[in-house]
Symmetry: C2
Subunit: 426 residues, 2 copies
């Protein structure tokens, strides 16, 4: 262990932002403790592929401890933070331990949110953790299993209807991949049902899907989804989610599987700090990403509300979290060296990517826009490149190649629940 | 669907025996329904590698439906059987459905058993399902995480003690791999503990480990385990398992992680049939593997008690279950063709293999005995060969190569429980 008289930096959360901060700070003469309530860093951009049986859990998750093991001055703590005492400068854990810090970085991310409709959660799970992904995978696969033996035609139709709420990148990726599952992967496996009759309905309250892209690319994506067999319903707000399905105003859409991709809320960091927050719970940070009134507390990633030069907010994507992690590492390093701090944080967009099934994608790099197969290859190579570790890169590339060539998905496992029950757990 | 006037064969259980029977019967002019309460066939011989973070769940499990999809006359049903009505010739499911059969094959396998000490199960999980494996993986990894931050030396020692009860192949494989985890994989990842100080204790009531092998090979295996750092305690019966650890008569061995590899009991098929069973619950089948008094009900695999010519019983291993599956398929095919049935089932041993960590194994093929590295390669190649599907063979081979070269294990995930709690779920 590094002597305890070194400046002690505590980082809460080992997502993209927290990990980047830890790695950049570790070179300095400091002591770092990384606290996370999971033992693994998760490559969230590919989480939907675990949910749709394309990848194994261990292909997109890596032990945090192992990622940081080469830095002797970094310690990892598996624990759940319940609060921060900014007076005493301690982080409080749920087992009553208090970890003292000199500088604190909060990078605790976001959870999916139901905007006042928390009762919908049991019926419409969201996708943020590995468990979320295996839950969704179980529900999708179990719906087909139940439909195979369901004598009632209307109930069979409900079982074979998949409603995805929210047409951002995650909703589009889920819808496209579920359509491929039904139309290709599962096609020959059932005897009493034709899986190609499954309905995949993508519901979006806004006027178009993938609102973060240009209208041109968004329209292309909608066409590609439709060709995969997805019903795209824009301008439709969900008024109810339940056992029977979803309600869109007057209309009831019977659906056994409902997936929530409509929105996220930040972790409770603003409450811990008593700091001002936006409606999604993100801390309204100062230009140097410190929490207002707390110069030794930084907030980054999905937990922070960071305005951009053109009046928008920095999006909740991995490259933004990484840039913020690197920025606060530089700022803290400069402070400890007695040098002037860097200028205010400025987000530099590397581009925007979304994929629709295994053959189409849209890519907007600013200077160039791509769609179709070339975009899909760009998307695929970028994601393999950003995966951590050669082992995972090889494994994911091999999994994709296999799916591409055979249409078969290797991770079609129903686990963790009493799956033989006629109804999935509510 | 094949017309319902075809002879209908129902197979309960899609393990090695049930799957082999289904594949061999599917060539005939029959209708087959395979019922399993899981959607996946599990390659149980490698389950301990999921439990010890070496392989991903999807590398050793494959959807039953997909394995049988090329046979048009085979239907798969995901459901839990609760009984058999041999009068009405129906199989009863937990949702009150009854599936009629003309011929029934019961291949429902075994669960680990505590021989009257069921209260031990929460403290000493066994290894039969994918969930068992992820539970054990979580407990092993969480114990190291807790030890890293435990201030009390005695408690730290308890957290770093792993007791494996039962020194059959599974117990030996678990002990060897946990020792490698502690001594190699995790070595550089912790700051406050030296994982090499972890104690791995293999407890066996009998006089030697791997009693199914010759004394020579068994002694070699014990030496190999000892070199890996495992403490082998033979001739010691466990008298208590609990939160504090295990008791061996007078001696208390404090251990936070206890794994049960000491015995199995058959599924309740004997109760379903009202058939005579041995002490482990296995049905005492007739020489043609039918249940006594039920010529249209076959019982195979770990659920059947089958004597061998030399007065032993057919062991509960995959090759035996497969041979039995093929035998009953041949018998049923002959019956339906009005031909004489094959002679009584005779087990033909293909050999006996066990592995100790990633460098040693023992192999007894009858005509040749191997130990050490050559045996390990034989073991590895045999297991990759018997995996189902090229995809899984490639993936497992790659995972092993990676572990072999780097010592790193890719599936070190703590999932499914509130892992930040100081105590694992009881």
């Amino acid at each position: 262990m590094t002597p305890s008289d070194h400046h002690h930096i505590v980082i809460i959360g080992a997502g993209f932002g927290g990990l980047e901060a830890a790695r950049n700070l570790a070179k300095g003469d400091v002591r770092i403790t990384v606290i996370d309530r999971r033992n693994h860093h998760l490559f969230q951009p590919l989480l939907y592929q675990v949910a749709t049986a394309s990848l194994a859990t261990s292909e997109i998750a890596w032990p945090i401890r192992s990622l940081l093991s080469r830095f002797e001055n970094v310690t990892t703590l598996l624990g759940t933070v319940t609060g921060v005492n900014t007076q005493a400068k301690t982080v409080l854990l749920d087992d009553a331990r208090a970890i003292a810090y000199d500088t604190l970085i909060i990078a605790t991310g976001a959870r999916h949110a139901y905007f006042g409709n928390d009762a919908w959660e049991p019926y419409a799970p969201g996708l943020k953790t590995l468990e979320d992904a295996t839950t969704i995978r179980r529900r999708i696969l179990a719906a087909f299993e139940q439909a195979e033996w369901e004598p009632d035609a209307a109930e069979r139709r409900r079982l074979l209807t998949f409603a995805i709420i929210g047409a951002g990148p995650t909703g589009v990726e889920l819808a496209g991949t579920i359509a491929e599952l039904a139309h290709e992967t599962l096609r020959r496996d059932f005897r009493n049902i034709d899986t190609r009759e499954a309905r995949v309905v993508l519901v979006e309250a806004g006027p178009r899907i993938l609102a973060g892209f240009t209208e041109d690319l968004s329209a292309y994506a909608e066409g590609a989804l439709t060709r995969l067999g997805v019903e795209v319903r824009t301008g439709k707000a969900v008024s109810q989610c339940g056992e029977a399905g979803i309600e869109l105003g007057e209309e009831l859409l019977p659906a056994a599987t409902i997936l929530w991709a409509a929105g996220v809320a930040a972790s409770p960091a603003a409450e811990w700090l008593g700091a001002p927050a936006d409606r999604a719970g993100r801390v309204l940070v100062a230009p140097d990403l410190t929490a207002p009134g707390h110069p030794d507390v930084f907030v980054i990633g999905d937990t922070a509300h960071v305005p951009t030069a053109d009046g928008k907010i920095v999006p909740g994507v991995a490259p933004a979290a990484k840039q913020e992690g690197r920025y606060v590492a530089d700022t803290i390093t400069a402070r400890l060296a007695g040098k002037p701090a860097p200028k205010a944080f400025a987000y530099r967009s590397d581009g925007n990517l979304a994929t629709i099934g295994k053959r189409a994608a849209i890519v907007d790099l600013g200077w160039i826009k791509l769609k179709g197969r070339l975009a899909w290859w760009t998307w695929g190579i970028a994601h393999v490149y950003f995966l951590i570790g050669l082992r995972n890169r090889l494994a994911v590339a091999m999994s994709w190649l296999w799916i591409y060539l055979t249409g078969q998905r290797s991770a079609r496992l129903i686990t963790q629940a009493d799956v033989a029950k006629r109804r999935p757990e509510g």
